[in-house]
Subunit: 695 residues, 2 copies
Amino acid sequence: MNLFEPWFIAPISALISILMGLYLYHYINKQDSGTKKMQEISSAIREGANAFLRREYTILAVFVFAVAILLGIFLPEPIWTSNNLTQNLSRSIAYIFGAFCSASAGFFGMDVATRANAKAANGAREGLNKAFTIGFRGGAVMGLSVVGFSLLGLSVVYAITRDVQVVLAFSFGASALALFAKAGGGIYTKTADISADLVGKVELGIPEDDPRNPAVIADNVGDNVGDVAGMGADLADSYIASIVAVMILGQILGQVEIPLILAGLGAIASLIGVAIVRVGKKGNPGRALNMGTYLTCVIFAVVAYFMLSYLEVDLRIWGATLVGLIAGVIIGITSDYYTSIDRMPVIKTAETCKSGTALNIITGFSYGLHSVFPPLVGIGIAAAVAYFLCDPIGEGYAVFGVGMAAMGMLSIVGMIVASDAYGPIVDNAKGVAEQAGLGEEVIAITDKLDAAGNTAKAITKGFAIGAAGLTVLALLAAFKQIAEQVLREMYNNPSLTVDFNLMNPVVLLGAFIGLAIPPVFSAMLMLGVGKNAHRMIAEIRRQFREIPGLKEGKEGVKPDYARCVDIATVGALKELLPASILAIVATLAVGFLGGIEALGGYLAGSIFSGLLFALLMSNAGGLWDNAKKYIEAGAFGGKGSEAHKAAVVGDTVGDPFKDTAGPSLNTLICVMSLVASLFAALIAQNNLLKLLGLA
Amino acid sequence: MNLFEPWFIAPISALISILMGLYLYHYINKQDSGTKKMQEISSAIREGANAFLRREYTILAVFVFAVAILLGIFLPEPIWTSNNLTQNLSRSIAYIFGAFCSASAGFFGMDVATRANAKAANGAREGLNKAFTIGFRGGAVMGLSVVGFSLLGLSVVYAITRDVQVVLAFSFGASALALFAKAGGGIYTKTADISADLVGKVELGIPEDDPRNPAVIADNVGDNVGDVAGMGADLADSYIASIVAVMILGQILGQVEIPLILAGLGAIASLIGVAIVRVGKKGNPGRALNMGTYLTCVIFAVVAYFMLSYLEVDLRIWGATLVGLIAGVIIGITSDYYTSIDRMPVIKTAETCKSGTALNIITGFSYGLHSVFPPLVGIGIAAAVAYFLCDPIGEGYAVFGVGMAAMGMLSIVGMIVASDAYGPIVDNAKGVAEQAGLGEEVIAITDKLDAAGNTAKAITKGFAIGAAGLTVLALLAAFKQIAEQVLREMYNNPSLTVDFNLMNPVVLLGAFIGLAIPPVFSAMLMLGVGKNAHRMIAEIRRQFREIPGLKEGKEGVKPDYARCVDIATVGALKELLPASILAIVATLAVGFLGGIEALGGYLAGSIFSGLLFALLMSNAGGLWDNAKKYIEAGAFGGKGSEAHKAAVVGDTVGDPFKDTAGPSLNTLICVMSLVASLFAALIAQNNLLKLLGLA
């Protein structure tokens, strides 16, 4: 072993990321949290968020340990046939460690986000510049922790075991936790949001974030547990999974460490990107964020070029990462068209609100359907280009190229998460400013910061969607490769290949089942929101009815915020487990009943419908949200008009679409692919179809 | 040639079907249409419906001839290279003939349906029995014309040319027309329905089918052009396509006429089924319809068994048709769970209406997502069982078996359409009874008849969905086979096979594009409804505002019904063409750019998302409809309550889901598959990827 191997750049840059994250955390903590009222609000949010996470993690710990024991018993071989128990143990530990890293990144990022909100609001009293810096650095802590914990953890597992299969178990741990964080956070946040809006805005006509509303703290907590912790976990999971997928694909090519090297370079590029983002006194914060992202892309492309040249790696591989970067930006910009407040789809949808709620729903949903086209075709083209670009290098390099495109998108995940986590922080800052009555001017600044978050979101969302799509394709290829290796040994036939041929009825049946999983999963989450909101609405109405003076805003009268936080928390946890377990159990069931080909079809089917519904729901939801904002800005009768009421219903329908079901689907298909890859060897050897002699 | 070939049973039973249809038509015409007022209403509906169809067919004639010319120029070979122009001409003519047969079945069936409504309403004055007989026989005319025209036309084309490729052109003609009928009718009917409901029920609070509403006639017309003509064309198109697909698959097995024989037997079974359906004085009409369907299944299974034994065909093929029949019933019953008024999903959704519109939408949509699971898995299992059942017969029989399962479902299409078309007839009868003020007792009978239509719909819908799914799978196999034959000749390699392997990036890119087509198509149709409804709502409001005494229901004051019919007609035609042309052009573009493998992936992708969205939208729409009815029956505050208002919005959202976009998707994927098969040979020889040397 060399004293210094090139891939050490990964853990080193991960460490630097964590250190820089700590520095920024320290910076945030030093800032003033403003008036007593602001501090009160901020700590109420933080306490609520922490309470939620603590409760969630406590329950998940049980689940994680249960799964870890199962993994230890069955993988890589059932312990009663295994002659190397360390192998089994290593997978269990790696799995727990992966879950731990993912949870830590989420907790750390969310803690700082809930501290930064009041500080950013207070910063807004000094001006845009100060507030922006606090908001962005808060987000950067999240971004840097995602990169740091993920990459460091992964490197440690690899350094110790040098076994990609064990790294896969690590990735599964991180993804399983991300799924819970996303789904649980998504149910929580929308329970609170819908309930607060329905009773507050629609029934009583009081403004958003009004402190009289018993659900207002739960709503603010929700923005953090759903958007910050959940989104961070989501990107962390794609990030780790893409690295692992490419490591597996690179294994037979002797290129197992290339993805680690590129991830390290991406981390460095993100560090630089985060450091240089700033906005002048009269500057445009949205532009500053996007410029930061573009610059990070360029820096990454340049350093990757030199590094790969230096390592004498074929530059077609560099080309594939570039394809990923470019596709991410293009997908972001085209998707943005459908949800932007100044574009035709939003304006047309807002206009239909004049004719009532139903037409608003139909129109927004239709544009949502439309919006799946550019990204789906974009992902398909990016995959095909990367494939054909790397095909000439040699056998096996074509799919390796597809993986590299995914990695290209995800390499700069630090910067992406930083820009994205900025959004909920400044959104919360706005809420704090409003609740603390900081005056028009300050609220206007927080408004401007909030709008910038939405601008940045377009690009970051493009990366998240594109990366998820390419990552699961790479995972599908990795799954195929693992299965192929096992079957070749089993049948002692080195030229055996596994194909997922759609004219094979086993593949097709698998595909039909796989197609159905994401819709059913989404339905379970959204019904969970519905059930939960039902309980919470009753509670809010009760408080307004029973607490004297609350509705009128009498001095000193406060609603029981904690009760609402509690209802949302308990409900979310109750609803998330069945859906998540379904996804894992269904995957194993298809595999052990139908074998490798059925499972391949199943994964492909789930990728298809998963991407379809993720795009549809995220975009339709975003569109309704902005249609409402468009009307609130004065169009078609403005606030309080009939059109506005219709728009509010659309926004409420869109909430669980865009914040609960839609974004969880990326993680879902990732988890399903990882489970399949982990169990591929076991399934290839033991499945019903093989027993029946049909495969 | 034998003087009598076994497949002659197809044209003979088709002729008998037409004769029986004519007899029933005569029976209907003899019935009394009731009071002058009823006759007026009925003829207003018939005139509106005929006006729509005439206008639609005039425009479509231009389109059909244009496509016919293109087909003649390019198929089977471009005329500048062809040495047999009769070949080219025969395809053009077959295409036009197919469109003509489909249009005739639609026109004939709709004409009788619009006559039967008032007669059934009048029959209700004599009692349930009489009214049921008129309603069912009206539907039977439609069912028998669908079978008669389709099967006779197909037999004639085959008898003259003995060329399955020409029969394929016939099928394309029928499907293209069905697509227009479905999409155009769907836009029309929902424009009228939504507009009538929004202004009438929601804004003014007047009852459904109130004669003061200017859109009431357009609404009744819509039920006929959308549900009767459109649905008939839809099943006719699956019916023909499944026969053709199996003929193609049977060609290399020397079994080209088996599908014709089975279709003939199915027609006979349907004739018997139609003849024996009746309901006693105290009988249950819903049960009578379902018993008729079950009995037809049994009769078909028995005669098919004896015929295939007699012809010494392997009975595994009979088994495959049986799999189709059984799957149809099972899929129907399981889907029914999600939309039945007395089941948990509808009741739960109705309950959420208490918490407002948004929760109703979210909950109904979620159950819609849930509902895709049983039928998707059912189609997958039916295909796999049929495949493995027929696989032992010999090479090529496995996919032939899948086709036979589709044929099994569709063989009894006569009975299925009869039960299904019964629904809109009695629905209209109820409308006529209400508008003509026939009294509580008569209306109660029409109500009971209407409910029976919904009961029957569950089974018939299961057949329609299952059959569409299996048919397009058979068409995909047929497409593969045609392409394979061409490529084998081209490369002079008789063992060459075409595969749609998901790990091939060309297939995958095709699949991603194909996935996006059904959502985009649905969006175009639904936006069309939205735009159209927008215009119509303005017109209805104008009439209520400007016609003095209309709102108050002053004696002698009548709204301008014709104006509303006209707006819906013109708008529907304007909106349907772009979407339909997109589907055809995109298919050809993918084929000529990406070649056979891209096109195979594309078809598979479109099948996946087409079935997904067809199921989701049909079921969510049906569920909202029944949730509203559940509340109207008195639950959760009943009519006029806040919950009812929320339920009405849900119903309105569901309308274009279940009656415009959802059901058009079956036809869409069928048309796409047929276009691909027709052009398969040309595409295999000429495509960009081949030119670039990448395939």
